[in-house]
Amino acid sequence: MRKYWPGWSRFGIATGILAGGILIALVTGPGFADSKKKMMVIGFDGMDPNQLQEHIDNGYMPNFERLIAKGSFTTLGTSIPPQSPVAWSNFITGKNPGGHNIFDFIHRDPKTYLPFLSTSEAVGSSKSIELWGDWQLPLGGGEVVLLREGRAFWELLENAEIPTTVFKIPANYPPVQTNVRTLSGMGTPDMQGTPGTFTYFTTHPPEDADDISGGAIVDIYFDRDKSEAAIPGPPNPFDKRGRETGANVTMYRDKENQVAKIVTGDEEIVLAPGEFSEWVPVEFYMLGDEGFGDRIRPAAAPMGFAVGGSVRFYLKSVYPEFSLYVTPVQIDPLNPAQPVSTPDDWSKELAERTGRYYTQGMPEDTKALEGGVFDDGEFLTQATLVLDERMKLFETMVSDFAQDEWGFLFFYFSSLDQQTHVMWRCMDPKHPASDEMARQYPDIITNIFKRLDKAVGIAMERLGDDVTLVVMSDHGFAPWYREVHLNSWLADNGYLTLKDDSEGVRASSDFFMNVDWRRTKAYALGINGLYINVRGREKNGTVAPGKERDELMNELIAKLKELRDPETGALAIKEVYKSEEVFDGPYVKNAPDMNVGYAYSFRGSNESALGEFPMEWFADNTGKWSGDHCIAADIVPGILISNRQLSRQDPALYDLTATILAEFGVDKDEDMIGTPVFQ
């Protein structure tokens, strides 16, 4: 050996040392520090720590028990207010709302006082060439803009070249443009651009059909047991009046045998009452004739410019009354008309493996239940389809991740949140909305807990102990017994002036149309937001910024914290948070001045949230939406469970963001406020 040493030139030795140094630098540098780690986070929207503990104590959650035994279980501080888009944005950005600009489901335009959805905004094509008749040629396609600010944590992982997959995380529509595999979640619209609008074809429309929100009730009739109609689709950009497109659907019924046949395009389905179809592709043609309900529908020979979507049909009844529910038209994952994933074709890749799936942000059709189109059993059937579909995707993705050498996977479940919202009354006989039908389903929530326990078991089994597994939720849950009409309280206490306070006008006006802004000091908008009508900020502001505003806020906080329910004498509001005290970051200026933290079992009413003024301040909540979490943040923390030991017991959502980045040795952005929680 020795004789070869002289053959090594000094240059060669120096080169070797240099190469070794580069290699060491590479493997210890920021991008590769802990590059071979694997971490999975499972997000169970709305999993409440108390409910979870109760289910564990009852022996329903063996996999959760095993996971906790390996590591730790604590509550996870939620956002103020504890609303899903806000909470998940805290997690995504590692900031509080002052840093990511999402303060509520609903924000307001201070120049018009009109509400708008907080997470995204659709911007249509502004220019077009006028053609003959009702036709125009749009120049440009319009776009949807994500209003959430701040970098998503997976952008930082991507920069460090960590293989990352993020499935259905809320408040990420349109998906942030990265090379990371992401599928957009809550906030993803249907093809009509709404959070989800079902169609209900029926020969017997309900009397309050016009009042049903979240759905189109279509009155149909049969001739020789055949009926033709159209499923409402996206607005037609070629139509000057912006009318909706429609997908033709022909319905046949066999009255005697109680079956129906549905035909749309080349698809034919036969259903018996109580059955859902599989996913069916539908097409909306932009050029055609004026059809049912003033919609553009294909002419006898449909002409081009079609966009596709997908639906499932549910046959409620055939005869004597025919009723057919159609899911909101989904952006078809196999052929998305708008991007729902990054890379663009990842939604297709997934669908080719698992079949089509709901792309709509919140697929459980709570609107159909609230509108009386579904009864409890039918809603449960639909919600179970959603969970079945999600479990299939979960198993596929966990199995794939198990094969990966390293990387990060986030997977989101919506079922517990959505079903607890509308089914709380089933397990709570004290609830004002608990009725005989609801009491038939006392175990609904428990059954979901059990199924989610199975998901945890699958992840533990397939990933093994070497993978860092985190199970978390964005917030917990509480019953919602009593509605608080906060705007009515403001009006009756002189903080808000109505143009016409007579009962008929007051009770029927909405969207603040009846408000005399020049004589209004404060108004509530959104579920928790309380705004001061600040001069120079609001169009008709009356309160001077600075001392006058501060004094008014203090006065309101003092009074609201003393607000008692006349029926029980209980305090309705636990805390009122001043935004400048609880938020940090450049967007605090856009926040409501205050956030109302309702007490346990209270919540701001939907009417008040959208600028209506019922005569009373309080009312029993008799609606299906019977559980909620938009109350004081400390009442409804989320959960944090891991197979790793925690270094502290009071983590918040943004700490989990810092934890993920730290796990992979990735530096967090300077304005991220969390700190890692693992030992």
């Binding site: 020789r224 047991d225 055949k226 046949y252 066999d254 005697e256 045998n257 109680q258 079956v259 129906a260 046949k261 034919e268 389905i269 036969v270 259903l271 018996a272 599989e278």
Partner: protein, 272 residues
């Protein structure tokens, strides 16, 4: 006519059976090669080989003229005109053998289509069985019997406006099944295949005529004048993938048969 079609179909059954355990593309490739070879030989004996060779030689000569005299416009135009005429002549010589080749190729394509375009139902798959009947048939009299292995998921859906009765069927276990349709005493069957086998599939049985006999060889046509006019179901599309790329069977057939024909035309001594 039907016995001839049946014999031809049987021949393909035997041929395909040789490749049953292999990737579908292997059998398709072999059949495409054989077709290419056979058609080349047929071409040889049904075409005027000397005339084709002469026409091709003339075309080559005129193209050479075009290249040799690029600056002589008269020569250019003259050579182009003559090349086109020679080409037309070549096409004329090609028509008779093309016509001869066309019929067997179409027959082969039909046989391949009933095997490669669709695949059998898999257990759990759902399909709609549709029976069209004559206007005078009482739809209430139309019934369906499905053997074990297939599950009738719905009662009969009588579509009055279309003189049609539909059933939703679910494939349960692999096998080849005959469902029995009875329309007012007239009984017919329809074959439904469940499983993974590469086999001939008939999506419909229509009343007999020349076209249906040749174009739908997988199952015997319905007798003329039967009150049952059509029995139809849908099989899933077969997707053939090679190295992750989706290939349509027709593309594979044409590319392989044409390439093979061109590759061996020198060996066989055929002017194409």
């Amino acid at each position: 006519m039907w016995p001839i079609v049946q014999a031809f179909t049987k021949f393909f059954d035997l041929l395909i059976a040789l490749f049953q355990s292999m990737h579908p593309i292997i059998g398709l490739t072999v059949i495409s090669i054989l077709t290419g070879a056979v058609m080349l030989v047929v071409w040889k004996y049904t075409s005027n080989q000397k005339a084709i060779a002469a026409a091709k030689a003339k075309i080559s000569a005129y193209i050479l003229e075009i290249r040799l005299f690029p600056d002589d416009m008269r020569a250019q135009f003259s050579a182009q005109r003559k090349a086109l005429l020679a080409n037309a002549k070549y096409m004329t010589y090609a028509v008779p053998p093309l016509l001869v080749v066309l019929l067997p190729v179409v027959a082969i394509l039909v046989q391949l289509d009933v095997r490669y375009q669709r695949k059998p139902l898999e257990p759990g798959d759902v399909t709609l069985l549709k029976v069209k009947v004559a206007e005078e048939v009482d739809l209430a009299s139309v019934t369906l019997d499905a053997p074990a292995g297939l599950v009738m998921e719905t009662a009969a859906m009588r579509v009055v406006a279309e003189d049609e009765v539909d059933w939703r069927l679910r494939a349960d276990t692999p096998g080849e099944y005959d469902v029995t349709v009875n329309a007012g005493g007239t009984v017919e069957t329809k074959r439904i295949v469940v499983g993974e086998r590469l086999t001939k599939l008939a999506e419909f049985r229509e009343q007999s005529n020349f076209l249906t006999i040749w174009m739908a060889p997988a199952e015997k046509p319905l007798p003329k004048g039967s009150p049952i006019q059509e029995i139809r179901l849908t099989y899933p599309e077969r997707e053939m993938k090679l190295a992750g790329i989706s290939l349509h069977w027709l593309l594979v057939f044409f590319v392989v048969s044409v390439l093979f024909g061109f590759a061996i035309k020198g060996v066989v001594g055929v002017e194409v």
